[in-house]
C-alpha cells in the first residue's frame, strides 16, 4: 500500500510559545482506517488542522497525495474532507443549501443527483429543507459529515465524530465509515472510545503531549490486550514462590501478599487455570480472594506515556 499522507518532523508552536506538536512523524496508507487515540490536549485536533490547512505548521512538512500542503494547497485540500470536532454550522441555512455551498467551495460543479444520494445515505434526505437550528445534535453531526462528503474527498478526517452520540447512531456512523472505506476513501478518525477504534480501525495510533507514541496494526495491539492476569490474594505473605510451584510461572507481588499468574485468552488452547488451582490446593497455599484482570488499552497507553516520560528524564540527565 502506498502512503497518501506523510507527516515529517511536524512542529506546531502556538502564539505564546506553547508547542502542541513536538516533531510528529506519521504515514497514513491509502485506503486504510486509522484511529488516533489520545487524552485531551494531546494534539489530535492540531495535527488534523495542520494537515487540512487550518493552521500553519511552524516547521516540518506535510504531504498529501505527494503534494505539499502549504505550497500546493489547492491540490491537497481538494482531496480532503474534514468533519471538525465542534459542531460549527450556519444556524439559519437549510441542510440542502449548506451541502451545495460546500460543494461549490471545493470547486466542484453542482451535482444535485449526487448530493441527493449522499443525503439519503446519511438519512438526512427528509431533513434537507430544515434549518440547522431545527435539527437534533446527532443530525447536526451528520450534516457536518454530509458537508465533508459533498465534494467526493479521497481522504476523510473525522475529529471525534461520535462524541455525544447515542449507541445506535454510533453504530450507524461506523457503518457509514465502513461503506466509505469500501469505496476507497482513506479515513482518519480521532476518538476517546477504545471500542470505537477496535470496531472500525485497521491501525491505531496513540498520541500524547504532542508526540506520536505508537502506530500499530489493530490486530497486534489487540493481541497484547488479550493478556490476562489471575490474581491470588494470600492469607499469609510469602517471601518467595514455593519450590513446588516454581514451574507454573507464578510471580509474587504486593510484598508477598499476592500471587500473579499471566495467561493468554487469544490462543484458543487451555489457559492452565484449572491445573494451577488444584496444584495450589495441593501445595497448601491458603487464599483469601481470587480475581482476574485484563490490561486495557488505557494501561498500555499509560505505560507508554510513563516510559516516554522516563526516557526524557534520562536524556535530560
Amino acid at each position: 500500500m502506498t502512503d497518501i499522507v506523510t507527516v515529517e518532523k511536524l512542529v506546531k508552536r502556538y502564539k505564546g510559545g506553547f508547542e502542541a506538536l513536538k516533531g510528529v512523524d506519521l504515514a497514513i496508507r491509502e485506503g486504510e482506517i486509522l484511529a488516533l487515540l489520545g487524552p485531551n490536549g494531546a494534539g489530535k485536533t492540531t495535527l488534523i488542522s495542520a494537515i487540512c490547512g487550518i493552521t500553519m505548521p511552524s516547521s516540518g512538512s506535510v504531504r498529501v497525495g505527494g503534494k505539499d500542503v502549504v505550497k500546493e494547497y489547492r491540490d491537497t485540500r481538494s482531496m480532503i474532507g474534514l468533519v471538525p470536532q465542534e459542531v460549527n454550522l450556519e444556524l439559519f441555512e437549510t441542510v440542502w443549501n449548506q451541502v451545495r455551498f460546500s460543494r461549490g467551495l471545493f470547486d466542484k460543479a453542482p451535482d444535485d443527483a449526487f448530493l441527493e444520494e449522499m443525503l439519503k445515505g446519511l438519512s438526512l434526505w427528509d431533513k434537507k429543507d430544515s434549518k440547522t437550528i431545527e435539527l437534533s445534535g446527532g443530525m447536526k453531526r451528520r450534516v457536518l459529515i454530509a458537508k465533508a462528503l459533498s465534494h467526493n474527498p479521497r481522504i476523510l478526517f473525522l475529529d471525534e465524530p461520535t462524541a455525544g452520540v447515542d449507541v445506535e447512531l454510533r453504530r450507524g456512523m461506523w457503518e457509514t465509515v465502513a461503506e466509505l472505506k469500501r469505496q476507497g476513501v482513506t479515513i482518519i478518525l480521532t476518538t476517546h472510545y477504545i471500542e470505537e477504534a477496535e470496531a472500525i480501525a485497521d491501525r491505531i495510533g496513540i498520541i500524547s503531549a504532542g508526540k506520536i507514541l505508537l502506530v500499530e496494526e489493530k490486530d497486534s495491539l489487540m493481541a497484547r490486550l488479550s493478556q490476562k492476569e489471575l490474581r491470588i490474594e494470600l492469607a499469609e505473605p510469602l517471601d518467595r514462590v514455593p519450590e513446588a510451584l516454581a514451574d507454573t510461572g507464578l510471580t509474587l507481588a504486593e510484598d508477598g501478599r499476592r500471587l500473579v499468574y499471566s495467561y493468554d485468552t487469544a490462543g484458543g488452547g487451555g489457559t492452565g487455570i484449572t491445573a494451577l488451582l488444584s496444584r495450589l490446593k495441593e501445595g497448601g497455599v491458603r487464599m483469601t480472594d481470587i480475581s482476574t484482570h485484563q490490561s486495557s488499552l488505557e494501561e498500555i497507553f499509560v505505560d507508554l506515556v510513563e516510559h516516554d516520560g522516563a526516557d526524557r528524564q534520562e536524556t535530560a540527565q
Binding site: Y14, K15, C52, G53, I54, T55, M56, Y73, R74, D75, R77, S78, I80, L82, P84, E86, N88, L89, E90, L91, E93, N97, R100, F101, S102, G104, L105, F106, D107, K108, A109, K147
Partner: protein, 253 residues
C-alpha cells in the same frame, strides 16, 4: 482560480440580503426621508441655495454617501466576522480557495448590497426634491468605487475584530464623523479658513466632493483629485488585504 467558490460565497451573501429585503430597504428609506424633513425642510428653508443648487438637492450626494459607506462597511465586516464567530470559518480555511477568492465573494456581496441601497436612496430623493444628474455615468462610477473600497475596509475590520463591540465601533467612531465633517450637508467654502484646512485632511471630503460634481458639475476640489483620493484609499485597503493574505494575520493561528 476557483470561480465556483466565489459564486457560492457571493450568492449566499446576496441571499441573506434578499431574505431580509424589506428590512434592508426600509431602514435607509426611512432615515433618508427623516434627513430630508429635518435638514431639507427645516434648515433648507433658511439656507435656500448653495452654489446655485437648492439645499434639498445639494445634500442628496452626501446623504447617499453617508448610507452607502456605512452599509458597505458593516455588511462586509459582519459578513466575514460571522463565520469567525460561529466557527464556520474552518470550511473556508480547509477549502481549495485562496484569500483572493474569499475576498471577492464577500466584498462583492457587500458592495452589491451597498450599491442597491445607494440607488434606492437616490430614488427616494426624487420624491422630495427636483434633481438632475449632470454626469450619470461618473455618478455611477463614484458610487461603485465607494461601495467597493468601503467594503474592502469593512472586510479588514471584520477580520481584525474580536467581538461585536469592536465591529460596530469603527463605523460609529470613524465613518459617521468623517462623513458629517466631510461636507455631507454643507460646502467646505461655507466654513472658516481653519476648518477648511482641516477638512482637506479628511479622505471622505474628496469622495463627497467628487460625487457631488457628478450631480451638479461643481465641487470643492477638482474631480481628478477626488478620483486620485478614492484610488489611493482603495489601493491602501488592497495592500492591507494582501498583507493579511501573506501573513495569515488573525486567521490561521
Amino acid at each position: 482560480m476557483n470561480f465556483l467558490a466565489v459564486g457560492v460565497i457571493y450568492r449566499r451573501e446576496m441571499a441573506r440580503f434578499f431574505r431580509t429585503f424589506l428590512q434592508s430597504l426600509l431602514a435607509p428609506v426611512i432615515s433618508t426621508s427623516l434627513y430630508f424633513v429635518v435638514f431639507g425642510a427645516a434648515i433648507g428653508s433658511r439656507i435656500e441655495e448653495v452654489e446655485g443648487v437648492s439645499y434639498g438637492a445639494f445634500i442628496v450626494p452626501g446623504l447617499i454617501m453617508l448610507s452607502v459607506m456605512g452599509q458597505a462597511t458593516s455588511n462586509a465586516s459582519f459578513g466575514i466576522y460571522f463565520p469567525k464567530f460561529s466557527g464556520t470559518i474552518y470550511e473556508f480555511l480547509s477549502a481549495p480557495v485562496s484569500f483572493l477568492e474569499v475576498v471577492l465573494g464577500f466584498v462583492g456581496g457587500a458592495a452589491t448590497k451597498a450599491f442597491i441601497i445607494g440607488l434606492i436612496i437616490l430614488a427616494t430623493s426624487f420624491l422630495f426634491v427636483d434633481l438632475t444628474i449632470a454626469h450619470p455615468l461618473a455618478m455611477l462610477a463614484f458610487l461603485v468605487l465607494t461601495c467597493v473600497s468601503f467594503s474592502l475596509m469593512g472586510f479588514i475590520i471584520g477580520i481584525w475584530a474580536e467581538n461585536f463591540e469592536q465591529l460596530s465601533l469603527i463605523p460609529l467612531l470613524i465613518i459617521t464623523p468623517l462623513v458629517f465633517l466631510g461636507g455631507a450637508f454643507y460646502s467646505a467654502s461655507m466654513l472658516p479658513p481653519l476648518w477648511q484646512t482641516i477638512t482637506h485632511f479628511n479622505p471622505v471630503f474628496y469622495l463627497i466632493s467628487g460625487f457631488r460634481w457628478a450631480f451638479f458639475e461643481q465641487a470643492d476640489v477638482p474631480v481628478a483629485v477626488s478620483l486620485a483620493a478614492i484610488a489611493a484609499f482603495t489601493a491602501i485597503c488592497l495592500a492591507f488585504i494582501w498583507w493579511i493574505f501573506r501573513t495569515g494575520w488573525k486567521i490561521r493561528a
